[in-house]
């Protein structure tokens, strides 16, 4: 789509007034009145403290909030007087809040932000998540500095969080993407990132924006695209973000994330099929050492339904999994929920066989992804039961072993991938 159809006349007018900038921070929003003010405040503090000589702009791309989010962004300056008295930006800090067109979603918002960044040739771009309140000026700066000062093209955040948190990332997305792409990215689905103008221009040229992946899986795609197309990537530590309850129900969230991961792997197959091992990604600044509380979970509820789910889904699973894997799952399901241990090799082969079924189209793709959800819950419950009371280093070690298991099983995946 041409720039003029992504950028409204009003936004173009604003951007022309802003002119070329050094730093652009984009904040996609949709009904974030409860959390947007601290985010805007952190951005302004970051501009004033860390980039006072840079031409800076904050662009809020809003999906049609009806809770006054855009006006909160526009009027946030009155709340920030205490900040400006501490440190001044030597240039005018611009703030634009604009609606984007099309279906509400991160994809359209990001496209608008990137198109604007491309137009005003922003040297460094950071995209923030308006759903969390824990972002600090240091965090904003940490996403921008590696691009601005060290010529990195893509900066992925590393959040300080307990290893039992975010099991969809630790149990599935991280090991899968790490083994496939051959890079040790800690959080490939992070909603925040920093990037260069070169990377922005590249992303805008891709045909992903009007696809389902562009609509719901853009966070994952951005990371995967940076890795697969050889951009200079690094990671940077961010403060722990207080977890806000996700608005998306689990089933929908799981389907979006897994479908996006599988779709990325399909798009980038020519890159990752030839890669072996997993290189560490440079960590330009470690996450602040703050004690994090472990989640209050022990996996009991997640494993309770596993046996029944496997039994109920047998007729679907037998079209996806090999007879051997299905037999192992059924043997696992016969155990008491309290004794359920879903081993790493079985979990890796389960995920890979689902990926192959997705590629082969043995049934509708949404059904394949939905069928994986109960198995993921069983695996997550099993892991949480096993490590609920373990010290963090032990959990980290278990997660590292899981990633290595995915790497070990990759040659088999590659062999089968070429046959599908």
């Amino acid at each position: 789509m041409a720039q003029d159809s992504v950028l409204s006349d009003e936004l173009l007018h604003h951007l022309m007034a802003v002119g070329h900038v050094d730093v652009l921070v984009g904040v996609p929003t949709l009904n974030n009145a409860g959390t947007i003010r601290p985010v805007v405040k952190a951005v302004h503090q970051a501009f004033a403290r860390y980039f006072p000589r840079d031409r800076s702009v904050l662009i809020n791309s809003d999906g049609g909030s009806d809770d006054g989010t855009p006006s909160l962004v526009r009027n946030a300056s009155a709340d920030d007087t205490e900040t400006v008295t501490v440190s001044h930006s030597l240039r005018t800090v611009h703030r634009i809040s604009t609606p984007y067109h099309g279906v509400p979603g991160k994809g359209n918002a990001l496209r608008q932000i990137m198109t604007a960044a491309d137009l005003i040739q922003a040297r460094a771009v950071a995209v923030l998540n308006a759903d969390v309140t824990g972002i600090t000026p240091e965090g904003v700066a940490a996403l921008i500095r590696p691009v601005r000062d060290q010529q990195f093209d893509y900066v992925a955040p590393v959040y300080q969080r307990h290893p039992l948190e975010g099991p969809l990332v630790t149990q599935l997305v991280r090991p899968l993407m790490r083994a496939a792409y051959g890079w040790q990215v800690r959080d490939p689905v992070a909603p925040e990132f920093g990037c260069s103008h070169r990377f922005v221009s590249h992303c805008l040229e891709q045909d992903v924006w009007d696809t389902e992946l562009g609509r719901v899986g853009i966070d994952l795609w951005v990371t995967a695209e940076a890795l697969a197309k050889g951009f200079r990537c690094c990671q940077t530590g961010l403060n722990p973000h207080p977890a806000t309850p996700t608005r998306t129900p689990f089933g929908e969230l799981f389907a979006q994330v897994v479908d996006s991961a599988f779709a990325c792997l399909e798009r980038h197959a020519p890159y990752w099929l030839g890669r072996n091992g997993a290189e560490p990604m440079p960590l330009v600044s470690p996450p602040p050492t703050v004690a994090v509380e472990p989640p209050v979970v022990n996996g009991t509820r997640l494993t309770e339904a596993f046996a029944l789910d496997v039994e109920n889904l047998r007729s679907v699973l037998q079209d996806i999994l090999s007879a051997e894997t299905l037999a192992s799952l059924e043997a696992l399901a016969e155990k008491q929920p309290a004794r359920l241990r879903y081993p790493d090799p079985l979990w890796a082969s389960t995920v890979y066989q689902f990926l192959l079924a997705y590629r082969g189209g043995v049934m509708r793709r949404e059904h394949i992804v939905q069928a994986l959800a109960p198995l993921y819950l069983g695996r997550t419950g099993s892991f949480l039961r096993q490590y609920a009371t373990s010290p963090e280093p032990l959990v980290d070690e278990a997660l590292e072993n899981l990633c290595r298991e995915f790497e070990r099983s990759k040659p088999d995946l590659v062999q089968r991938w070429n046959r599908v």
Binding site: A243, P245, G251, N312, G381
Partner: protein, 233 residues
């Protein structure tokens, strides 16, 4: 008198020879049509099976849930069945054409009726295929949604959805080929009405608690809290 009898016999003989001279070529033509038709039908069956194999019809049939149903009905795999349908349609066409050549008055119009029936039969087959596909899709979608949504008895629910669609499709196909139209329609209406009533009564009497639980689960008065409510991302 004798002369008259001799003339009659001669006339009968002449008539017989004339009829035979007319019938024999027709008979030979009929046999030729049937044999050639059989050969063409065989050739077409082989070609259809080859094309079906190339198009991986059996894989598609497996994916859309047709194969298990064919096995249940003791029918051959989809490619063989498709070849057999083509074979019998073509050969029956040739057979009836051959019989038509014989010129039997009582069989006149049979061929026309057959060719009028073929499009309806094909439409019925198409309805059945679409029905199988839709039934299997609905079955799998219901099963997965029920399992992930923690709805009780997901297999029973999804199986009921599948069979309901298959029965509806079967009735539509039979209606299309006009086989016992009144009986099929009446039987279907009675069966469908009875089934709906039975389900409604059974759910109303025995499933009140389940309905309450489902509704409470879907529309909780207060946010659910549990030790295992975890942020997955």
């Amino acid at each position: 008198m004798a002369q008259m009898i001799a003339n009659a016999i001669r006339q009968a003989g002449t008539n017989f020879v004339e009829s035979l001279s007319v019938f024999l070529p027709r008979m030979v033509t009929t046999l030729a049509i049937i044999i050639v038709g059989w050969l063409i039908a065989m050739l077409l069956r082989t070609m259809v099976r080859a094309v079906a194999g190339w198009l991986r019809i059996n894989v598609a049939a497996e994916r859309f849930g047709v194969t298990p149903l064919l096995k249940t009905a003791d029918l051959p795999p989809a490619d063989v069945l498709l070849g057999a349908i083509v074979f019998w349609l073509v050969w029956l066409g040739f057979l009836l054409s051959g019989i038509d050549v014989l010129g039997f008055t009582s069989l006149q119009g049979l061929l026309a009726s057959f060719w009028a029936f073929v499009p309806r039969l094909l439409l019925a087959v198409v309805i059945l295929i679409i029905g199988f596909v839709v039934a299997n899709f609905a079955w799998r979608a219901t099963l997965l949604a029920a399992v992930n949504g923690r709805v009780p008895s997901p297999r029973l629910l999804s199986g009921a959805v599948r069979w309901l669609i298959l029965i509806l499709t079967g009735a539509m196909a039979l209606e299309q080929i006009a086989v016992a139209r009144t009986v099929v329609l009446t039987a279907f209406a009675i069966a469908f009405g009875a089934l709906s009533l039975a389900v409604a009564i059974a759910f109303g009497i025995g499933g009140g608690g389940i309905a309450k639980r489902i509704l409470e689960h879907q529309f909780p008065e207060q946010p659910r809290s549990s030790a295992d409510e975890i942020s997955h991302l």
